[in-house]
């Protein structure tokens, strides 16, 4: 049984922002509900009022705008899996969507919900970090864009203000010479919280020399993180076995994992090295093709 709460059902984005401006911080947005409803049932969250975002068409599109891919915050994880723009310009995000939670949850859970929930293990975060994504935060005051790397500030903590909604996430269309990939390590193959997840994106010149690399890691720090030093170790290099092995080792050093029921800190750190190596090897093959 869920505790009592008021349920607000705005039909448009301006209505929703008005309700938030008047009601915050007592009004909590409800996106897919796959975290919030469970938290309310378990008593971890007792909002006075909940605002259903599912009728807001403004949050429900995936399109290209001014050289960017823009994904509405209300898009479900399942919708990412079948969208042609994501397949072409956001492959690591599509890969992460396909292994997140389970098919029933994916039909409800949203991109914005996963980011605002801000779990260190959030599966949407590493792919969006390597895509160099920004989030669009809207309120009655207007819209501001924040880099995802800056937006995620701690365990279940973001820069989102109580009167704001995460309306969209966007990233610049990646170079056609770039290759991205995602890997999730869970204790089982479905309905698993990531023990470690990782994404990489590399762009190479005609000679196969790495011009730019991004590496993002989840569940190994209070927030999903970029491994900047390891990215630097790849820049200007041919993606040889040694260069990749070094970048993987340096990636592991960027982490500060904890022991928990899913694995020890030591195991997580070792797995970061393995995952990053696998992803970069796969990318090196992709770059050559």
């Amino acid at each position: 049984m869920l505790p009592d709460f008021d349920l607000l059902t705005p039909q448009t984005l301006p209505q929703a922002l008005d309700m938030l401006a008047t009601g915050s911080p007592d009004v909590i947005p409800l996106a897919g509900g796959t975290n919030l409803i469970v938290d309310m049932r378990d008593g971890r969250h007792r909002p006075k009022a909940v605002m259903d975002l599912r009728r807001l068409d403004e949050l429900r599109s995936i399109h290209m705008d001014d050289g960017h891919i823009v994904v509405g915050g209300g898009m479900t994880i399942a919708e990412l899996m079948t969208d042609p723009l994501i397949a072409e310009h956001g492959a690591p995000l599509g890969e992460a969507a396909a292994v997140m939670a389970n098919p029933l949850v994916r039909n409800r859970a949203t991109v914005a919900g996963n980011l605002v929930d801000a779990s260190p293990a959030a599966d949407m975060a590493p792919p969006l970090l390597v895509l160099n994504a920004e989030v669009e935060l809207v309120s009655q005051e207007g819209m501001r864009r924040v880099r995802l790397e800056d937006f995620l500030v701690g365990v279940n903590d973001t820069l989102l203000q109580p009167q704001e909604l995460l309306a969209a996430v966007r990233w610049p269309v990646p170079s056609p010479h770039s290759v991205g990939a995602f890997y999730k390590l869970g204790l089982r193959r479905a309905v698993a919280c990531s023990v470690v997840n990782a994404a990489t994106m590399v762009m190479c010149d005609m000679d196969g020399r790495c011009q730019q690399a991004r590496i993002a890691l989840g569940a190994v720090a209070p927030t999903p993180i970029r491994a900047h030093a390891a990215e630097g170790a790849l820049r200007g290099q041919l993606l040889t076995e040694e260069v990749i092995a070094k970048a993987a080792r340096v990636s592991a050093k960027a982490t500060c994992p904890i022991d928990d029921i899913r694995g020890t800190a030591d195991y997580r750190q070792r797995m970061v090295e393995v995952l990053v190596r696998r992803l970069l090897v796969k990318s090196a093959v992709g770059v050559r093709q």
């Binding site: 869920l2 505790p3 059902t9 509900g33 409803i37 049932r41 098919p103 029933l104 409800r108």
Partner: protein
């Protein structure tokens, strides 16, 4: 907060029910007599409460009934009857895929959405499609087999017979 009248179209029958905002779709459906929709973990882990909500398979425990206002809901019972079962329901019975039966309605809903988009799934694809549904009798082998048999029968029967099966 005051309850309101919510319209739920369940298995092609329209209901107007007065519900408080904290009632889940799962609770509302069971109170309407749809006891084929099972209450399991109530966390979205087990899939026992799966229904089709506007054509998408979802955990009804994670949907507020108000959110489903005006929506079309199909439960396992809406796919077929004892006299005129859906090929999946028939195949589950024939294969011994039903042990205690608690996971069965959710399994059939998940399998139905798979066969709708992929009439010839591989074993791997079937296991992925039912990965949000737990069977604590652990009878997964027979369940996978049942979905394969249903797919074969539906293909053999051709599209005309399949549309006649409802859902």
């Amino acid at each position: 907060m005051r309850p309101k009248v919510v319209t739920l179209d369940v298995n092609r029958k329209r209901h107007h029910v007065v519900l408080a905002p904290n009632v889940t779709l799962l609770q509302a459906l069971r109170e309407l007599g749809c006891t084929d929709v099972k209450s399991g973990c109530e966390k979205g882990d087990c899939g026992a409460c799966a229904v089709l909500l506007d054509g998408k398979a979802v955990n009804s425990c994670l949907v507020l009934a108000w959110q489903a206002d005006g929506s079309e809901i199909i439960t396992n019972a809406g796919l077929g009857t004892v006299d005129d079962p859906h090929p999946l329901q028939e195949a589950f019975a024939d294969s011994g895929a039903v042990q205690c039966g608690y996971c069965t309605p959710g399994m059939i809903i998940a399998a139905k959405t798979l066969l709708d988009r992929n009439p010839h799934p591989t074993e791997e694809e079937i296991r992925e499609a039912i990965s949000g549904n737990l069977c604590r009798c652990t009878g997964y082998g027979q369940i996978v087999q049942a979905v394969q048999i249903a797919a074969e029968r539906m293909a053999a029967a051709g599209p005309v017979t399949v549309t006649g099966q409802g859902g």
